[in-house]
C-alpha cells in the first residue's frame, strides 16, 4: 500500500475547517487504515489527521503508545468527529508536524482533557487524557479546525512546565 501524500504548509487546505463524518462504511475504515499506514512511515509520528492528506473530514488518529518514553494512554485511537468537552491545567511542550517539516516549537496545551468522539463504526466513545496523549489529541483536533501549531507558538523561552 502506497502512503497517502501529505500536504505541507502553506497549502490552504490545512487552514480549512473540516466537515463532520456522516457515513460510517467500509470505505471510511479503509481510509483510516491507509491513514495509519501513512503515519507509520512518517518520522516518529504519534498522530495524524485526515486533512493532512487532503480529506477534509473530521477524523484523526492518536497513538501515545508510540511515545519514546512510556506515558499514560488509551491505546491507538481512531477519533471520528471528536470534541473536547472538558479541559484543565496548562503545560508547555515542543511540537512538530508532518505537514511542517524541519521545524519544531513550543505550544501551550491543556494538561488534561476529556473528549467525546465516534469510533470507526460510529459508536460514541469518551476518553480522559493527560499529558502527552492530551497534547496529541489537541494538536490533531486543531487540524480538523484548520489550526496549525504555528498558530499557537509561544516564546521559545516559555517554560510553564515541560512535559
Amino acid at each position: 500500500m502506497e502512503p497517502l501524500p501529505i500536504l505541507t504548509y502553506p497549502d490552504e487546505r490545512l487552514k480549512t475547517v473540516c466537515e463532520p463524518v456522516e457515513q460510517f462504511d467500509p470505505e471510511l475504515r479503509e481510509f483510516a487504515e491507509h491513514l495509519q499506514h501513512t503515519a507509520d512511515l512518517g518520522p516518529s509520528a504519534v498522530g495524524i489527521a485526515a486533512p493532512q492528506v487532503g480529506r477534509m473530514q473530521r477524523l484523526c488518529l492518536v497513538d501515545a503508545t508510540r511515545a519514546k518514553r512510556p506515558v499514560d494512554n488509551n491505546g491507538p485511537l481512531v477519533l471520528v468527529n471528536p470534541a473536547i468537552t472538558n479541559w484543565k491545567g496548562f503545560a508547555v511542550g515542543r511540537e512538530g508536524c508532518l505537514s511542517i517539516p524541519d521545524y519544531t516549537g513550543k505550544v501551550i496545551r491543556a494538561e488534561t482533557i476529556e473528549l467525546t468522539a465516534q469510533d470507526i463504526e460510529g459508536r460514541t466513545v469518551t476518553f480522559k487524557m493527560k499529558g502527552f496523549e492530551a497534547r496529541i489529541a489537541q494538536h490533531e483536533i486543531d487540524h480538523l479546525d484548520g489550526i496549525l501549531f504555528l498558530d499557537r507558538l509561544v516564546s521559545r523561552h516559555a517554560d510553564l512546565r515541560e512535559r
Binding site: 504519534v46 498522530g47 519514546k68 508532518l98
Partner: protein
C-alpha cells in the same frame, strides 16, 4: 554558484530600529537571511544573523557601515560553513538556580558533558537584588546516554546549594 553564508554579529546599546534598518539595507541589495537570533544581555543589544548574497564579509561590512555608525554598533562578519534545515531536537532540559557565585556555569556544564549531554541551547540570567543576586540557567540538550547519568551527575550539586532540575523532553509530532 551560491555564495556561502556569512554570520553577521552586531552588538551595542539597544535602541529602537536597529533590526529594521539593518535588514532594510540587506534586503535592498538582494541579500537572503537565514536563521537569526536577537537578545538583550546586560541592557545591550546583540544579534546574530545568517546572511548570503550580499557579497563577501568586507563588502557586507561596507554596506552596513552607515547604519553601524548611526547606531553606534560594533559589527563583525565571518564566512561560515553553515546550512539551513539542520535542526536538532533537545530531549532533556536542565534548569539550575542558586545564590549567585562564580563557577556555576563551568561546574554544571562540565558535569553535563561528563554525563554525555550535548548542549543545544543555553540561557543564563542574574536576578534578585544587587546585594543578594541569584543565578538562573536554562539548558536544553541531547542526552546521548539517557537521562539517568545526567540526574546522577548533577545530584552532587545539592550539597553545594544549587537546585538542579532535570526534565525529559519529547517533541510531539503529528
Amino acid at each position: 554558484m551560491t555564495q556561502p553564508w556569512l554570520l553577521l554579529t552586531l552588538v551595542g546599546a539597544d535602541r529602537p530600529g536597529i533590526v529594521a534598518h539593518v535588514t532594510r539595507v540587506l534586503f535592498g541589495v538582494g541579500a537572503e537571511l537565514g536563521e537569526t537570533a536577537m537578545m538583550r544581555l546586560g541592557n545591550q543589544f546583540a544579534i546574530m544573523m545568517m546572511v548570503r548574497g550580499a557579497g563577501n564579509p568586507e563588502e557586507v561590512a561596507g554596506l552596513l557601515e552607515s547604519t553601524r555608525a548611526d547606531f553606534g554598533l560594533k559589527l563583525h562578519v565571518d564566512e561560515i560553513d553553515a546550512a539551513l534545515h539542520q535542526h536538532r531536537e533537545p530531549d532533556v532540559s536542565v534548569i539550575v538556580h542558586s545564590a549567585d557565585r562564580s563557577g556555576i556555569v563551568s561546574e554544571v556544564t562540565a558535569a553535563l558533558l561528563e554525563a554525555g549531554m550535548n548542549i543545544l541551547d543555553l540561557r543564563s540570567d542574574v536576578g534578585g537584588s544587587s546585594d543578594k543576586p541569584i543565578y538562573i540557567m536554562q539548558i536544553d540538550g541531547e542526552s546521548s546516554q539517557g537521562i539517568e547519568p545526567i540526574e546522577q551527575c548533577v545530584a552532587r550539586f545539592a550539597d553545594q546549594g544549587l537546585t538542579v532540575r532535570v526534565t525529559p523532553l519529547e517533541t510531539m509530532r503529528g
